[in-house]
C-alpha cells in the first residue's frame, strides 16, 4: 500500500511540549486556594480499628475524614468488565485494613507540612489480627479471614477460604489426550510480585464546583471510567463530574483502575468545599498497586512426532487484599495459554486468593508474560526431550491464521486473520545465529553464553463479534476548522507510546491531510464520548478504528459539500495533501482548475450556512486480533557471581501495518527493558516481621535497569502483514512488545548453564546457588601464575 503518512517517519506531536517542560501531567496541576491532603495508612497487615480520634488534628485546622465519613457501599475501582463479572470489596477508607498501607483516614490542610502534622495527631487504636502472606496458606482451613462478605455486581456473596473468585474451564477429552501422549511433562512455576514503577506517582486534584459537581485532574488510563466510578461511590450524577485528560507519566496498567487517591481527594473536597490535591509519594505509590503473583501447575502431553495433545493448567493467583477485577484475569490467563499452541483437550482451574498484601492489578501483559514464560519453558523442555529443534517444534504447534484466538478470556474470541509468526521465527533465528547456539549445559569456563528464544503475542483490544464480559469500544469526534485543519477529540489516553500520533496519522491518511493539520486537542469527560480505557494494547487498533471511522464520515461530508462547489459527483472526487499550500486539496482528476482546499471549503460552509463539517463515531472493534512477537536473546552468565548480562537481543514483530516505525521500535526496546527487569530483578518480597514489603516502598531497594544495564545490541524488525479488521491494516503492540521477553531470557540462561529456573525473578543468588549445587567450583587460571613461571 502506498500511504502518504502511515509508515513514514514523522515527529511526535507531543514531543515539543515534552522537551521544553511545558507538558502538563496531573502532578503539575495547582489550583488557587487549594488544600493539600495526606492519607493515614494502616501500619498493620491485618487489623480492626477499634477507636479513632481525630480531634487534635482538627484543632490545628485540618479537614479530616475517616471511614465513618465516606459512603459504606462496596465498589470495584476497575470498570472494564461488565457488572455481572465484577466483584466488589473496596471502600474508600476502611476500618478493617487488610494490608500495610491501606487507607484508614485522610486529612487536608493549607500546606503539606500542616497536613503531615495533622496526620500524626490522629490517634488510632487497633486490634491487630493474624495476617497471611501466602496464597496456599490463605486457602487453608483456619487461616485468618480477610473478607467475610463481598458483592458480585449487587449480590452479596460469602467468601470461603479467602477465595476471591474461581474459574474452571474444560474442552475436549483430556484423559484421552494424555493417553495418546508419548511424553507428559508436569511443572510448577512461581512468579514474582512486580511494581509498575511508573515514574509519576499517583495524584488527584479535585475542585468542587458551585453546582454540586466536581472537576478532577488525576493520573488515569480512563477518564470516563473514573467519572463513572466517582458517580457510583458518591452518588453524584455522572454529568456533574468532569475528568480532565492529561499527559500520564507512565501507566503500564497501574491506572486502568481508578487510583485510590481519586475517591479520597473527592471525599475531602466535598467536605472542605475547597479544591484538594492529594499527591502520593513514591513510597505510598508502591503501596497502592502491584502485579498479580501466580503459582502455575502445568501438565502437558505430546506425541513422539511432536504434536501437542492436551494440557492441564492450574493457576493460583495471589491477588493481595482486594480485587481489581481478578476474575477476568483468571480467564485471560487461560486464554494466553490455549492461544499459544494448539491443544485438542484442555482443563483449567483458576483460583484467585486473598492475602494481606498490596492489591494486585494489571501490569503490562495482564498475566501474559508470566503464562508465556511457563509455556515457553515447557515448549523448550519438550523440544529437547523430543530431540527437535525448539523453533520447528513451535512452528508445528502454534495457533495461527484461521485459528480461534482468545483475546481476553473465554468470552472474547475471534478468528486470526493476519499472522507473521513463521517469518518472525525464521528471520529472527537467522539474525541471532540460532544454528550456532551452544548446547545446553555443555560449556565450561567461567563466562557462559546462551541464546534463548520465546514467542508470544498479545491481543489488540477486547473486541469480538459478539457481546462479552469485557466492555470495549472507543469514541472520536472530528471537526474541520476554517484554516483547513481538523480538531481530533478523543478520551483515549496515551500512556506514552505515542498512540494518539497513530490516530492523527490515520486521520491524515484518510482525509489526505498533511499530518500537521491534525490537531489533537485537549479533552475531558464532558467534551468527549466514551472510551473504555487504554489497556489490552487497544489504543492503535480500537482507538485508531474510531479515528478512521470518524474520518470516513467527515470525508463523506467533505466530498458532498465539495461536489456542490466543484459541480462534480461526490464519489468521483479525490483528496490529496498539498504540501505547498499546507492543505488538503479536493479535486476532480483530469479536470484542471476543479479543486478547492479544505480550508476554503470549511470557510465557504460557514458563510453559506451549510454548517460545520464534523462527525462523531462510537466504535466497537469487531475482533481481537493478536499481534505477534518473537524474542531472541543472547546472555552471558558469570558462573562465579551468578550475574547475567544481556548481550544481543533480536525482536521481531507482526503488528500488521506499521503506522509509526520509530515509535513501534521504541515499544520493543522498552518491552525488553521491562521484561529484563521482571525476569531477573523485580520482586516485592514481604517481611514477616513488619508485615510490609521488604523495601518499604523505597526504590533504592526496588531496582530497575539503568542506562548501564542495556544490552550491547538490540535489533528489531517488523514482518509485513495486513490485519483486515484494523485501521489501514494495523494491530496493537504495547504488551506483545514485552510478553515473551521473560521466557526468552530464562531460556537463554538455560542454554548457557543447563539449569532451568521455575521461580521469578531469576536473581544472581538463585543462579549461583544452582550452579554450585550442580558443579564444583573450577580453579580459575590466575594471571599471577604466569608471573611466577616467567
Amino acid at each position: 500500500m502506498n500511504f502518504h503518512v502511515i509508515g513514514r517517519k514523522t515527529i511526535r506531536k507531543d514531543a515539543l511540549a515534552r522537551v521544553t517542560g511545558a507538558e502538563k501531567y496531573a502532578s503539575d496541576i495547582y489550583l488557587p486556594n487549594m488544600l493539600h491532603a495526606r492519607v493515614l495508612k494502616s501500619p498493620y497487615p491485618h487489623a480492626i480499628v477499634k477507636k479513632i480520634d481525630t480531634r487534635r488534628a482538627e484543632e490545628i485546622g485540618a479537614i479530616v475524614i475517616t471511614f465513618k465519613d465516606v459512603p459504606g457501599r462496596l465498589f470495584c475501582p476497575r470498570l472494564v468488565s461488565t457488572p455481572d463479572a465484577t466483584y466488589k470489596d473496596w471502600k474508600v477508607l476502611t476500618d478493617k485494613p487488610a494490608y500495610v498501607g491501606e487507607p484508614i483516614a485522610a486529612v487536608a490542610a493549607e500546606t503539606e507540612e500542616l497536613a503531615q502534622k495533622a496526620l500524626e495527631l490522629i490517634e488510632v487504636e487497633y486490634q491487630v489480627l493474624e495476617a497471611v502472606f501466602d496464597p496456599l496458606e490463605s486457602m487453608k482451613e483456619g487461616a485468618p479471614k480477610i473478607h467475610e462478605k463481598i458483592l458480585l455486581n449487587d449480590r452479596v456473596i460469602n467468601v470461603e477460604n479467602n477465595i476471591a473468585c474461581k474459574l474452571e474451564l474444560e474442552e475436549g477429552d483430556l484423559e484421552e489426550a494424555f493417553n495418546k501422549s508419548d511424553i507428559i511433562i508436569e511443572r510448577e512455576f512461581r512468579t514474582n510480585k512486580g511494581y509498575h514503577n511508573q515514574l509519576e506517582p499517583k495524584v488527584a486534584v479535585v475542585n468542587p464546583e458551585p453546582d454540586g459537581g466536581i472537576t478532577i485532574w488525576c493520573t488515569t488510563q480512563t477518564i470516563h471510567n473514573t467519572r463513572l466510578l466517582v458517580s457510583e461511590i458518591f452518588n453524584i450524577p455522572v454529568s456533574k463530574i468532569n475528568v480532565k485528560k492529561l499527559a500520564l507519566g507512565g501507566g503500564f496498567g497501574s491506572s486502568i483502575q481508578t487510583n485510590i487517591v481519586v475517591p479520597i481527594a473527592v471525599a475531602l473536597a466535598l467536605k472542605a468545599r475547597r479544591p484538594v490535591r492529594l499527591a502520593y509519594t513514591k513510597e505510598e505509590d508502591m503501596h497502592e498497586h502491584s502485579s498479580f503473583q501466580m503459582i502455575f501447575r502445568f501438565k502437558v502431553g505430546v506425541t513422539r512426532d511432536g504434536r501437542l495433545t492436551g494440557g492441564y493448567m492450574e493457576n493460583i493467583m495471589d491477588i493481595g487484599a482486594h480485587q481489581i477485577q481478578a476474575y477476568p484475569l483468571l480467564g485471560t490467563c487461560a486464554g494466553w495459554w490455549v492461544s499459544l499452541y494448539k491443544l485438542k483437550a484442555i482443563k483449567y482451574i483458576g483460583v484467585a486468593v486473598y492475602t494481606n498484601k498490596i492489591p494486585s492489578c494489571a501490569y503490562r501483559g495482564y498475566g501474559n508474560p508470566q503464562v508465556t514464560w511457563a509455556v515457553e519453558t515447557i515448549m523448550d523442555e519438550l523440544a529437547e526431550m523430543l530431540g527437535m529443534d525448539p523453533i520447528e517444534f513451535r512452528l508445528k504447534n502454534y495457533v495461527g491464521e484461521g485459528d480461534l484466538f482468545w483475546g481476553q478470556g473465554p468470552t472474547v474470541k475471534s478468528v486470526i486473520r493476519s499472522c507473521g509468526v513463521e517469518e518472525i521465527l525464521r528471520k529472527g533465528s537467522e539474525l541471532i545465529g540460532w544454528k550456532n547456539r551452544p548446547k545446553p549445559g555443555e560449556q565450561k569456563g567461567r563466562y557462559r553464553r546462551g541464546i534463548g528464544i520465546a514467542r508470544g503475542y498479545h491481543t489488540s483490544s477486547a473486541g469480538s463479534p459478539i457481546p462479552s464480559q469485557v466492555i470495549d469500544y472507543s469514541g472520536a469526534i472530528l471537526k474541520v476548522n476554517e484554516d483547513g485543519t481538523v480538531d481530533y477529540i478523543t478520551a483515549l489516553i496515551d500512556q506514552g507510546g505515542g498512540t494518539l500520533d497513530a490516530h492523527a496519522k490515520i486521520i491524515a491518511e484518510e482525509l489526505g491531510l498533511p499530518l500537521k493539520n491534525v490537531n489533537i486537542v485537549s479533552a475531558d469527560s464532558q467534551t468527549t464520548i466514551y472510551d473504555v480505557c487504554t489497556h489490552a494494547s487497544r489504543g492503535v487498533y480500537a482507538g485508531g478504528g474510531a479515528a478512521l471511522n470518524v474520518a470516513r464520515q467527515v470525508k463523506k461530508k467533505i466530498l458532498e459539500l465539495a461536489s456542490n462547489v466543484l459541480n462534480a459527483y461526490p464519489h468521483t472526487l479525490k483528496i490529496r495533501p498539498d504540501e505547498e499550500r499546507g492543505q488538503a486539496v479536493i479535486y476532480v482528476e483530469g479536470v484542471p482548475g476543479k479543486e478547492i482546499t479544505l480550508g476554503e471549503l470549511a470557510t465557504l460552509a460557514r458563510i453559506k450556512n451549510w454548517g460545520t463539517i464534523a462527525a462523531v463515531e462510537s466504535f466497537r472493534p469487531p475482533a481481537c486480533p493478536p499481534h505477534f512477537t518473537g524474542y531472541f536473546v543472547e546472555v552471558v552468565v558469570d558462573t562465579e557471581t551468578g550475574i547475567v548480562k544481556p548481550l544481543r537481543v533480536v525482536i521481531g514483530a507482526d503488528i500488521g501495518t506499521v503506522i509509526n516505525p520509530e515509535l513501534a521500535e521504541g515499544q520493543l526496546h522498552g518491552g525488553f527493558m521491562m521484561g529484563w527487569s521482571r525476569a531477573i530483578l523485580e520482586d516485592l518480597r514481604y517481611s514477616k516481621d513488619t508485615g510490609d514489603i521488604e523495601c518499604k516502598g523505597f526504590i533504592i531497594d526496588y531496582k530497575m535497569p539503568t542506562s548501564k544495564d542495556i544490552p550491547e545490541e538490540i535489533t528489531t524488525f517488523f514482518v509485513e502483514t495486513y490485519e483486515p479488521t484494523g485501521p489501514f491494516g494495523a494491530k496493537g503492540l504495547g504488551e506483545g512488545a514485552q510478553n515473551p521477553a521473560i521466557a526468552a531470557i530464562a531460556n537463554a540462561i538455560y542454554n548457557a548453564t543447563g539449569i532451568r529456573f521455575y521461580e521469578l525473578p531469576i536473581t544472581p543468588e538463585k543462579i549461583l546457588e544452582k550452579i554450585r549445587e550442580k558443579e564444583k567450583r573450577e580453579p580459575m587460571k590466575v594471571v599471577a601464575e604466569k608471573l611466577i613461571d616467567e
Partner: protein, 307 residues
C-alpha cells in the same frame, strides 16, 4: 545509605518524602571555629551537613530528627585536595565528584578513584562528600574499603583541638562511628601507597547504579615474584567495613598461585560476617566474596605485569 533499615515501627505514617517533615534551625557558619561553637552549643540536638545526600533522606524517612543543622557548605577552607610529600589531604567539604576527577587520586589511589566513581549517580556525587560517605558509616560505603587499605587518617576537631583517628578505628557499627557529638571531621589524610604497589576496587550490585551487595579493595606489591605488601578490605559483609588482616599476613612473602589464592579466599570467607537483607543473602555474599578476592587480585597482578 541503608535507607530501608532502622526505621521506627510506625514509619508508614511518619515518612513523607515530598517534604522534610521536621523543623530545624539552619546554620551556615563560615569558619570551622564557628561551626564547632555551634555544635557545642547545640550538642546532642545538632547534626552536621556537608552534601546532605544522606541526612536529607534520613530526615524525610524520620530516622534522624535534628533540631539544628550546621552546614559546612560555606566553609571554603574545607574544600580541597592537597598533595603533600607523604600523601594527600582531602577536606570535609570536597565533593565526591571532585575526588573522582582528581588527577592525583586517579594516578596514585586507583582503588579510591574507582570506588568513588561507583557511588550512586553523578547527581549525588556532585552533592555528596567523601567525609560524608564515611561519617554516615554504612557497612556498604564504597569509599571505606579503599580508605582502609590506604590506611587513611581522619582528623576530627572540637573546640579543644584536633585528634587523629586511624581509619581502622573509625567505624564502630552500622551507622556508628567513634566521633563524639561535639566533633567535626575536617579532613582525611591518605598516605601514598608503597612505590610499585597497585590497588584495585570491585563491587557487586543489582544494577548499574546501586549500593553494593559486596565491595572490595585491595593493594598488592611484589618483590621478585613474592608478595611484599598485601592489604585487603571488604564492605557490606559485616557490621562495619572490614580489613582482613589474617589474609594479609598469610599472603605476605608468598607467590600468588592457585593454592595461596584459595587459602586467601578461604580466610576471607571465614573472617566476614555477612547477613541476609533486602539486597542479598548471607550465603551469596560469602560466596561472591571469594570471586571478588580473586578478581581484584587478578586485576592488581595484571597491573603489576603491565608496569
Amino acid at each position: 545509605m541503608n535507607r530501608g533499615e532502622f526505621m521506627r515501627a510506625d514509619y508508614i505514617n511518619l515518612v513523607n518524602t515530598h517534604i522534610i517533615p521536621i523543623e530545624f534551625t539552619y546554620h551556615a557558619p563560615e569558619t570551622i571555629e564557628e561551626a564547632l561553637k555551634l555544635l557545642r552549643e547545640y550538642q546532642g540536638q545538632a547534626m552536621v551537613i556537608a552534601g546532605g545526600t544522606d541526612l536529607i533522606v534520613d530526615m524525610k524517612l524520620r530516622r534522624k530528627e535534628p533540631k539544628h543543622i550546621i552546614s559546612l557548605g560555606r566553609i571554603r577552607e574545607l574544600d580541597y585536595i592537597i598533595e603533600e610529600d607523604s600523601g594527600i589531604r582531602i577536606g570535609a567539604a570536597t565533593k565526591l565528584r571532585s575526588i573522582e576527577k582528581s588527577r592525583i587520586v586517579y594516578e596514585r589511589f586507583e582503588a579510591l578513584h574507582l570506588a568513588v566513581k561507583s557511588i550512586a549517580s553523578i547527581q549525588v556525587r556532585n552533592m555528596g562528600t567523601l567525609v560524608g560517605n564515611i561519617c554516615n558509616a554504612s557497612p556498604a560505603a564504597d569509599s571505606a574499603p579503599p580508605l582502609l587499605i590506604y590506611e587513611a587518617i581522619v582528623t576530627a576537631q572540637n573546640l579543644e583541638g584536633a585528634r587523629k583517628i586511624l581509619m581502622k578505628d573509625f567505624f564502630t557499627g552500622p551507622g556508628k562511628t567513634c566521633l563524639r557529638n561535639d566533633e567535626i571531621v575536617t579532613e582525611i589524610f591518605i598516605p601514598y601507597p608503597p612505590r610499585d604497589s597497585t590497588s584495585s576496587f570491585l563491587k557487586i550490585s543489582r544494577v548499574g547504579m546501586d549500593l553494593a551487595k559486596v565491595n572490595i579493595a585491595l593493594l598488592l606489591k611484589f618483590n621478585s615474584n613474592v608478595v611484599e605488601d598485601f592489604r585487603i578490605a571488604l564492605g557490606a559483609v559485616a557490621p562495619t567495613p572490614l580489613r582482613i588482616l589474617r589474609a594479609e599476613e598469610y599472603l605476605k612473602h608468598k607467590p600468588v598461585n592457585e593454592e595461596n589464592l584459595r587459602k586467601v579466599e578461604e580466610i576471607v570467607s571465614e573472617e566476614i560476617k555477612p547477613i541476609t537483607d533486602v539486597r542479598s543473602t548471607e550465603w551469596y555474599r560469602r560466596e561472591v566474596s571469594k570471586a571478588l578476592v580473586r578478581d581484584a587480585l587478578n586485576i592488581a597482578v595484571n597491573k603489576v605485569m603491565r608496569k
